[in-house]
């Protein structure tokens, strides 16, 4: 692991390679989760719009 910071005041926490990857994955997971939430809303809106259109067409 390169790029460790110099020890200033207290020694900063270090992560292993695995832990670092876990962290990156977690951020991605959150990103995906937010996208899913938005997608779910979009689908719902779409369904409701179509439903409404059907009612209006009748």
């Amino acid at each position: 692991m390169a790029g460790k910071p110099e020890n200033h005041r207290k020694s900063p926490p270090k992560l292993t390679q695995d832990q670092h990857e876990l962290l990156v994955l977690y951020v991605q997971r959150l990103e995906a989760h937010l996208e899913e939430l938005k997608a779910a809303v979009a689908v719902q809106v779409e369904i409701e719009t179509r439903h409404l259109r059907k009612i209006l067409d009748q």
Binding site: G3, P5, L15, L23, L34, Q44, L52, I55
Partner: protein, 275 residues
């Protein structure tokens, strides 16, 4: 238009989980606890991120905090308290406990510089965060457990009252920290020799840290903090004993007097209320 939509679905009797975009449901009474716990989690996450500040990973932690906060506001703003809770349980809680554990595991071997601020900043509570989870105290399950135990106690108590057995009373004596006396203790060094060490309220942080690790190793408790020394009478065992000076440690939110020879802990109270 939207109003029309709402009336349509309202008339159709489609309520429940179905939400129209932008429907800002008022904060329901039953949802406020979810919201409060979730906000606590957000705060805990923020504190964790602050601890990783100045490391190469700070940016990732900030990103995680930022995303979590966005999802939180998104769900909270739409009154989806239950989903919010679920999200935090499935994501934030795991994340918090994982990286808190990593942090603590690393601080143990190199506690020397760390201990300077830690005694003041509630070390016990932090330990608990991992073990029990800070968000469960108001849960139904917890209350059920408490009630069961209380019922058991009451039953046992009425049994005892009939037989006239005396119930022992536990006590938590109030102690006064002695700020100048020093206690000596022996610890084994690497080469199997014994070193005499001193510990007292005014000891430098390194000595306190050394004492903490010594105690941690001998009684198998982690996350302890040295508080000071105090004069106490140890519980009599056979013959009465004179008062002696013993170290007081702080563990999981409460102080304990430590009997160094027997390695036993006795709960005590200090005049200080908050740690």
């Amino acid at each position: 238009m939207r109003e029309f939509l709402r009336t349509m679905f309202g008339l159709n009797g489609q309520t429940g989980n179905r939400k129209v975009v932008d429907s800002t449901a008022g904060a329901d009474e039953e949802k406020t606890p979810y919201l409060r716990e979730s906000e606590q989690r957000l705060k805990a996450l923020q504190e964790l991120c602050a601890k990783y500040d100045g490391t190469p990973y700070a940016a990732h932690f900030k990103a995680a905090l930022e995303r979590t906060r966005r999802i939180h506001t998104y769900l909270a703003g739409r009154g989806r308290g239950h989903e919010l809770e679920l999200f935090h349980v499935q994501h934030t809680d795991h994340f918090l406990s994982t990286f808190t554990a990593i942090l603590e595991a690393q601080q143990e071997p190199q506690e020397l510089p760390q201990q300077q601020e830690k005694p003041i900043s509630k070390p016990g509570v932090r330990g608990r965060t991992v073990v029990f989870g800070p968000f469960r105290s108001e849960r139904k399950e917890v209350k059920a457990v408490q009630n069961t135990n209380r019922a058991t106690s009451q039953r046992a108590y009425s049994d005892i009252a009939e037989t006239k057995t005396e119930v022992p009373r536990l006590s938590m004596p109030e102690i006064a920290i002695n700020t100048y006396a020093k206690i000596v203790y022996l610890r084994e060094d690497v080469s199997d020799g014994l070193t005499t060490c001193e510990i007292g309220f005014t000891s430098p942080p390194e000595e306190k840290a050394a004492f903490e690790s010594y105690v941690a190793a001998s009684i198998g408790l982690s996350d302890i903090t040295y508080v000071g020394n105090a004069m106490v009478y140890a519980p009599p065992q056979g013959k009465p004993q004179p008062a002696e000076m013993v170290p007081v440690i702080h563990w999981h939110g409460a102080p304990y007097a430590l009997h160094l020879e027997e390695l036993r802990l006795y709960p005590v109270r200090t005049y200080r209320k908050q740690w």
